[in-house]
Amino acid sequence: MLEILKAQYQSANTLSKSNFYNPQTPDVTQVFSELYPQSLEYFHELNPGFLFKVPKAEYLSQFSAMTVRDGALGFGAFILKNFQLLPNLSTHFFIDPKLAPLVPKNLRHMFSSWQVVQKTKMKISEAKRIIITGLMNEQILPSLEEIKRSLATLSEANPSAVVEVFLPIRNNPFGALWKESFIGYQVVEMIKDVFPNHKLTYLGHSDLFEHPSLLNAYCLDLMTSRLVISDNYLNHYMVSRGAIISSFASVDNEEKVFEIDLSFNHKAQFFPLPDCESLFPDMIFYKKQTPIRDYASDPAFRQLLSKNNF
């Protein structure tokens, strides 16, 4: 793995600044917009990026490494479309360890894992500011039970802490199926149950990007599902300005091979792919059954992945 990392460092090729990356097609624009601002780009030398913004897998061959930010839908769709082409690429992919079951057994050598580790620590009770973030959409968020469990951790919050929420409502990033959703209201009601005596301040994304410092802020990231997105720009932005992010690891991975400092407050660590059963045979079976090529937008594919707890 270290040779791959060295090759990528030395090439200094940046995926997210490439001309082909992020074409302004309706599909790509839809996913980007519905995941905004979490879908914004950031930088380190191992090419964090979204596969849904790569129009053809062959274009990746100029990069020795890519750090995948897609969720299971985008990553799984990429695998299904390109599993025969992938052996011809020289790119090594770093993925969220929870996405490991989607990797075909014969391609495991092309994949490793990564995670973000927070260097600074603070107890929730010490936070002067609690910021709850999440894009309100049923495709993006985990179950309400999972959200409730996440919110329960805030019972330790200092009663004098200011509580702010960034909970913009979004449509499905993948697929055009529209249905009424009340999830945004349901989440706000749950938050009010946790903070019955607090006035909630509702933030727009520009409010978050305006502050030069988020010291003493604890950010509860409700987007713990890996179905749609596995790496969130907003978390990177906020942690580098001093916030503590609930979804970042607080201890080093014992198997780490390499790490990169992303700011004074957080780093990315890279380690081998965890051993697990591959879901790929089920994915191939699904592919053979369906005439659809836009797998990420197919409810049947979503159903297949949701059953496996992404």
């Binding site: 380190h44 305006e210 410092s213």
Partner: protein, 429 residues
């Protein structure tokens, strides 16, 4: 008695230096003699049209003799679009615009506002000599007045006890020399150059330390076509830092962000304030002013408003590092940066701290600002005469290049428009 309507946002700006600027400007207005001051909240975030209408109506009802626009945003066109119609057929107030470094981002807005200002007496106030040179190139016959953004001497002053405490916190002895930077860890502040110059100059000098207070940003340098992704410039300067020998890394300290209230102690602990900024918006240098109020020597790029921080009676306490506008970028002399740091390392100027604080207060203190403002209020001001051809060129270029690359040729070299404007910010263009 003159009635002054002071217009600013009652909510603090997210731009840290502007928080203090607006607050202190307001104090300077409050100290003016024979004035009645009233404040009007012009929020940073756009509100409803109804809100704007109410604000404009309140101002007109107050019937001020002078409107003082003392905040950096939103652009005053937002208010004047509503206010101007209410002044039809009425006696118009004089308007004092305190201009900030971001003037060169808002050509379109100023152009629109200019059309409304022709029947108003106006005063344009800038913070430094070099900013005056730049802005005077934009207005036909309205010469700017220089009023440095003031510092309150009650907020920043030399204090030996605080110095001892800060030195203790930093674990420094009296013999150590502390170089300090405060501000955004930004590409345009040349943080990498500061780190590498320090490391190169002091590789064998264990008494030299560099303290950097601030947080990374992703502002890049859009005028040069450099759009940084989040974390990109951090990797640039942090890689440079990590490539240094460990013993030198140990003497470069990244301290993060501190609130304004803690800055006094931080400045006290330092011996030299360093700023290698070549920011397009560098109209002044609030942090430099504060550092001088505490008595620090300063090593600065000879760029924009930073050139103001020279005191002839204390010439040895300010050292300028030459800047030139190259083909593709602004170039800071690293040789001169190292020479500056070596000079202060050998000549710490600790005995001049009180004298420097006094000189800074005379030049940049609240009282001086009040005197300048009183003169502005007193005098018969000209009406607005319009913009120069240079301004109109810039306004057109900014409309043709909404992505911000109005200063670049097709080969990404800096064009003549950039040089015509920003030659104001260098000593020998």
């Amino acid at each position: 008695m003159q009635k002054i309507a002071c217009i600013f946002s009652f909510q603090e700006s997210n731009w840290v230096s502007c928080q203090k600027i607006v607050f202190n400007l307001h104090k300077s207005y409050q100290a003016c003699q024979d004035v009645e001051l009233s404040h009007f909240n012009f929020p940073h975030k756009p509100g409803t049209q109804a809100g704007l209408n109410n604000l404009a109506q309140e101002i007109v009802t107050y019937a001020p003799d002078v409107l003082a626009i003392i905040d950096h945003k939103p652009h005053p066109i937002v208010l004047f679009q509503t206010l101007n119609s209410l002044y039809e057929g009425k006696k118009k107030p004089k308007i004092i615009f305190h201009l900030f470094g971001d003037f060169t981002i808002f050509y379109a807005q100023w152009e629109k506002l200019g059309l409304m200002l022709e029947t108003y007496q106006v005063e344009f106030v800038v913070a430094s000599e070099r900013q005056k040179i730049l802005i005077d190139k934009m207005f036909l016959n309205n010469s700017c007045t220089i009023c440095p953004f003031p510092v309150d001497p009650k907020d920043f002053y030399p204090d030996q006890e605080l110095r001892n405490r800060q030195r203790n916190d930093w674990k420094l002895t009296d013999n150590d020399v502390a170089f300090l930077f405060t501000g955004r860890l930004s590409r345009q502040k040349r943080i990498k150059t500061l780190i590498t110059s320090f490391a190169s100059e002091f590789k064998n000098d264990s008494r030299a330390h560099l303290f950097l207070y601030g947080i990374q940003d992703n502002i890049g340098d859009l005028f040069l076509g450099i759009a940084d992704l989040e974390g990109e410039y951090f990797r640039v300067f942090y890689n440079a830092f990590k490539a240094l020998p460990l013993d030198i890394q140990a003497r470069i300290h990244f301290m993060g962000h501190v609130p304004n209230s803690q800055l006094l102690k931080v400045y006290q602990g330092a011996d030299v304030f360093m700023n290698l900024s070549v920011h397009n918006d560098e109209d002044y240098g609030m942090s430099v002013a504060e550092a001088q109020f505490v008595g620090l020597s300063v090593g600065l790029t000879d760029w924009g408003g930073l050139a103001s921080f020279h005191h002839p009676a204390l010439a040895q306490s300010t050292s300028f590092i030459p800047v030139r506008i190259g083909k593709r970028s602004k170039q800071v002399s690293t040789t001169a940066a190292k020479k500056t740091m070596r000079y202060f390392y050998l000549n710490p100027q600790t005995n001049n701290r009180d004298a420097m604080a006094s000189a800074a207060n005379q030049k940049f203190g609240l009282s001086r600002a009040t005197k300048i403002i009183e003169e502005l209020l007193r005098r018969n001001s000209p009406t607005f005469k319009g913009f120069t051809p240079l301004f109109k060129r810039a306004a057109l270029a900014s409309q043709m290049n909404p992505s911000g690359q109005m200063y670049l040729n097709s080969d990404f070299t800096l064009n003549q428009l950039y040089r015509d404007i920003y030659s104001s910010y260098v000593r020998n263009p």
